[in-house]
Symmetry: C2
Subunit: 122 residues, 2 copies
């Protein structure tokens, strides 16, 4: 295990939860077509080095490196130094975490409310 995974405030109308930041950070990292492209490539290939990714995108090497840095900082990608090159691997757990957070948000509360609660709130 890695973290104690503290109690999820079950309150639907709770004011604060660190998940805001986590989900936002993950989404922000994936909020660019080039980065989605990189992640997709890594998902198919398993892992590869930076040059391999550069060849698959219409971007300069420095730009790709920038994007990889963003993905790495979000934890979506891991970089392993291998001599002069760096092997980039997708962190599927992190990506699954993003999916889980989004799915959890989509299912929170009652879909019932989605249609008729506009009147209240006087």
């Amino acid at each position: 295990m890695k973290e104690p995974m503290p109690p999820l405030p079950p309150g639907p109308a709770a004011g604060e939860s660190p998940e805001h930041a986590e989900l936002a950070a993950l989404c922000k990292a994936l909020g660019h077509p080039a980065r989605v492209r990189i992640v997709e490539h890594l998902a198919g290939v398993g892992c590869c080095m930076c040059g391999c990714i550069v060849e698959n995108l219409p971007l300069a090497q420095s730009t790709v490196s920038q994007h990889l840095k963003v993905l790495k900082e979000a934890g979506l990608v891991r970089g392993t130094l291998e001599g002069p090159r760096t092997c980039y691997c997708l962190d599927r757990e992190r990506l699954a975490r993003l999916a889980a957070l989004a799915a959890g948000l989509a299912e929170r509360g009652d879909p019932d409310l989605d249609l008729g609660s506009c009147d209240e709130g006087t």
Copy 2:
């Protein structure tokens, strides 16, 4: 010499797929804590008007309106005019779509590749 193009035949994502843009757009919309906050609020409450959201955030009304516009353009939220006010509802389908796209990406390919494919290629 370099590997011209790693095998990506089995996936629908050899070079281009509109899913890139869709996932990136959805993520970009959620890539801001305030927007995650709004979506979470809507998920709990079902739907409510703009003022209700403003009261829950430390932001000016115009800023919240901007964020709502972004969410609306991404399809994550629907706005219904109700006289002078606007009722905002979360589109759970869209949010689920985001989750599904992320999950699909996380499960694409073989996790087997994630550990040992860095050596080959010499």
